[in-house]
Symmetry: C2
Subunit: 369 residues, 2 copies
């Protein structure tokens, strides 16, 4: 239970969601991440709440050989009970921003770590190496290494990192080319925040009483396992296949929720388009919980924060099904066509009564999905 | 007085020094930053206390054009009262690790920031933009930009960053070529930790009583100003001139103190050499304070932590004076020959009674140095 090193009395929302709380903070208009344009490439950096939602990674032309630097950074507080899995999730989430740009060959990762000054030596010696190991193994799975980083002491445990890819221009997909008739694909189900919170409520009778009439403990535990599995999964194959199937734009879904990231992506399009979302694939039973909580999570409104969520990919209509099928073939995970690109003013919306897709549709004995 | 967002009751040493406290933490032997060798280049990452002292930056060959990725990251807690200066210091310190490798063209910086949940909204709206501004202006001075980063909330205020340079091999100085007869040059005076702490003691009668017989309040304030000026100063010119004067090796002096970093640099040499340090340039009066505290800081032993310290450069004997003179001409700051390279077993030491060089030698009315 190393989560106690992040004090829920101080703050009890999921890590990514907390970020939006900073959006009031006014920075110098010329301040960081506010986007100087670079040769027509993506001007803006990773969403920094300080300056509002931007795009996923910075893409910077370097002095050498027409190459570009694609970088992202993120750090997190403990979100799940298992430190090894937390390391993997943090790593997958940092990489996801780079993958969203189509860059799949990451040259290096740095790791940012803070132990908690409230840990005993023994706790620290068990927990921190597990986080390190999870982070490192996830980086290996991504075909990169973790070389460099820094560790400090802090009241709260922190785990984060930096991903850097040096790419040729054709390795990057500038996410601005959606056209009318394209479709929207999502590569992971929504609901990670709801699952993680519901799992915490198992230990909180007040909270549990609010939802126990609509869900069983077993269902919550299973949803939590699915959320962990999903958050720790890399978006690498989804990113790589964007090149094969000619994706026109992409973002990953994290702290601002599906709609927040869809709106942000829409805003950056070259053409007069809007995104309309019809379907919401959601980890099984999480829509039910969300409704029982009076939609406080915003899950069905697309505003529930996700950690290490899927890619939201804009694909030519005739390629989308093949893209989803290829992900299924290579990874064994479903992807879903969730919406369409229409003529419009660079906005995004979810239709009034979206279709909820329970993921998985039914439980299979002994299998997670 | 935004320093209150780093709680000194929890930890009252200077930021860098705290890192060494983590050195007991055992990581997986294959864990991060432990150095896989890359084509004869620097195998090891930035000193990560988790795995012991390494070298300053990671240097990683990338897939394209024989280029190398040089990266470093560091983050800090508030160390000085002025948030704008703190932003500059954090930026200068992150850049310093890359400069120590001879890489002077930095392609991008990311900024890592945490506001404190103990701040009022008003404090936050004043303090955080000042830190951002300091960081950003320092990056501009370095000829790079800050594009990307993340901001979170935390009990303690954190400011840090990532510096990335993509370099050709001849832009990097692999710090392993010291030979017998070389000399050691230091480009900033020591004593930043002592100066910062002494300045804090002005508000702590118990502590102040221990040193007030040896120093005046004015002297402490002046030393603090000098320390801030020194910590906020870039090591860029010192790094750039290493190429002109054929430096054989270099490291920057930070959390492990002059001797710690000298020993680490010695350990990585190709030849059978040792470093012997004869002179200690120290911010005026700080040696006196250190002695009055029973050498608790380790300043005269070379173990006092520095933040954003100078470069420790190994130069051919016949080039060293010209190197120092050139820094003086370009920047108006002194550099000092502090030691020699002898035959030995890759260690470093400070001689028994090193010469203390007071910096500046005497006060000039109206001037800092």
């Amino acid at each position: 239970m190393y989560r106690k090193y992040f004090d829920p009395l101080d703050y009890n929302l999921s890590a990514d969601f907390r970020l939006t709380k900073l959006s009031d903070l006014k920075a110098d208009k010329n301040g960081y991440g506010d986007g100087q344009h670079h040769q027509g490439l993506i001007p803006e950096s990773k969403p920094t709440p300080v300056v509002g939602i931007g795009l996923d990674s910075c893409v910077i032309p370097i002095r050498h050989g027409g190459l570009f630097l694609v970088q992202s950074t993120a750090f997190f507080y403990p979100l799940v009970d298992d430190p090894y899995v937390m390391g993997k999730i943090a790593c997958a989430n940092v990489l996801s921003d780079v993958y969203a740009m189509g860059a799949v060959e990451v040259d290096n990762m740095l790791m940012l770590l803070s132990t908690s000054n409230k840990m005993t030596d023994k706790e620290r010696d068990i927990i921190m190496p597990l986080i390190l190991q999870g982070f490192k193994e996830c980086a290996e799975e991504a075909g990169t290494t973790v070389q460099g980083g820094q560790t400090v002491i802090n009241p709260w445990l922190i785990v984060g990192g930096v991903a850097t890819a040096v790419c040729t221009q054709n390795e990057i997909i500038i996410p601005e080319n959606a056209i009318v008739g394209d479709v929207l694909v999502l590569t992971k189900p929504l609901g990670t925040q709801v699952a993680v919170n519901a799992h915490q409520w198992l230990e909180n009778p007040d909270r549990w009483n609010r939802i126990k009439s609509v869900i069983t403990e077993d269902d919550v535990r299973k949803a939590y396992q699915r959320a962990m599995n999903s958050m720790a999964r890399l978006n690498k194959i989804g990113a790589s296949l964007m090149h094969k199937y000619n994706a026109h734009a992409c973002t990953d879904v994290t702290g601002f929720g599906l709609l927040g990231h869809a709106q942000n992506l829409a805003k950056h399009q070259k053409h007069d388009v809007s995104f309309v979302i019809h379907n919401l694939p959601i980890i099984a039973k999480m829509a039910t919980i969300s409704k029982a909580c009076g939609n406080a999570f915003g899950l069905l409104q697309g505003t529930s924060a996700e950690t290490s969520g899927g890619l939201l990919v804009v694909l030519p209509r005739e390629q989308a099904a093949a893209y989803c099928k290829d992900i299924q073939a290579q990874e064994g995970y479903q992807a879903w066509i969730i919406g369409v690109v229409e003529k419009g003013g660079r906005t995004a919306k979810i239709i009034d009564k979206p279709r909820i897709i329970e993921v998985p549709a039914k439980d299979t004995e002994g299998e997670l999905w």
